[in-house]
């Protein structure tokens, strides 16, 4: 028997017909990409949780008001909402987020509830944390293209159109982002292997 995945479009339809589980499925499907995108911009876990909530409240209200058109991808649409909420937040504070070197991060948020080697898991979480801090150190336009390509699944053409630059510029930003990440790893002499 062939198992087919329910599309985002179908889940949205079910949700609008009163099926709350469909909303939960949409969140489960996309939560990691959306939350990570928010966090890489906001650089603060608590704030990112707040913006994540605000994002989906806006999604729910827009869907129910009938103002969602099906032209774009659901994930890209949600990420645009999230992105704008982050920008609005820092605009209201009249600043962009700074890197917090001493930011607390609860490892228990990432530890799965499985019977695995705890030490290996802790090392993996440490690596994740270190890499995340490196991505946060990238200039905003490079971080933005990383988020759009890795988490919004946008093509470079779509990224270029969305950010109002040429495709060569968006490719250049990604190239610099990747090169800078490599440089940061070498500078900090990070041991990124288990």
């Amino acid at each position: 028997m062939c198992k087919t995945t329910t599309t985002d479009h179908e889940l949205v339809s079910r949700f609008l017909n009163g099926n709350e589980e469909a909303l939960q499925d949409l969140i489960t499907r996309h939560q990691r990409k959306i939350f990570t995108s928010i966090y890489l911009l906001a650089k603060d876990r608590e704030l990112s949780d707040d913006i994540f909530q605000e994002t989906f409240i806006k999604v729910i209200n827009t869907l129910r008001s009938g103002n969602y058109n099906e032209e774009g991808k659901f994930l890209s649409w949600v990420l645009r909402i999230a992105h704008n909420l982050v920008i609005d937040h820092f605009r209201s504070l009249k600043r962009m987020p700074m890197v917090h070197d001493t930011e607390e991060y609860s490892i228990f948020d990432s530890l799965p509830l499985m019977d695995e080697n705890v030490e290996d898991k802790l090392i993996h979480v440490q690596i994740q944390n270190q890499v995340r801090l490196l991505v946060e150190e990238l200039p905003f336009d490079q971080r933005e293209v990383v988020i759009m390509r890795h988490f919004a699944d946008m093509s470079f053409k779509e990224i270029a159109e969305s950010t109002g630059v040429s495709i060569n510029t968006s490719l250049g930003r990604m190239r610099y982002a990747l090169i800078n990440l490599r440089k940061l790893i070498e500078e900090k002499q990070l041991m990124l292997t288990k």
């Binding site: 009163g18 709350e20 909303l23 939960q24 969140i27 939560q31 990691r32 990409k33 959306i34 939350f35 990570t36 966090y39 890489l40 990112s48 949780d49 707040d50 994540f52 909530q53 989906f56 409240i57 729910i60 129910r64 948020d109 990432s110 690596i127 994740q128 890499v131 995340r132 490196l134 991505v135 990383v146 390509r149 890795h150 093509s155 470079f156 060569n168 490719l171 250049g172 990604m174 190239r175 982002a177 990747l178 090169i179 990440l181 490599r182 790893i185 990124l192």
Partner: protein, 81 residues
Amino acid sequence: MLPMNKITTLNYLVLYLYNETKMTDTVLIQNAIDTNHEIAETYQDLKDAKALINETVMTPSQKSIQTILNYSKITAPLMHS
């Protein structure tokens, strides 16, 4: 034929890395990686960094997810038969 301009070649490496090249360009870039040591090294650096970015994925708190689901239930319009 790939353009010989260095920056354009590097941009093509990024396109190739993210599987966005046309088939003809894919073959040319693969050949360049196989025959040019400098391009191969650059490509490996880009590839390593790309793999690391995928390690940054995080999840929101269960509390925030529950808040969203509760909001949706509380504000759900009444269904009429």
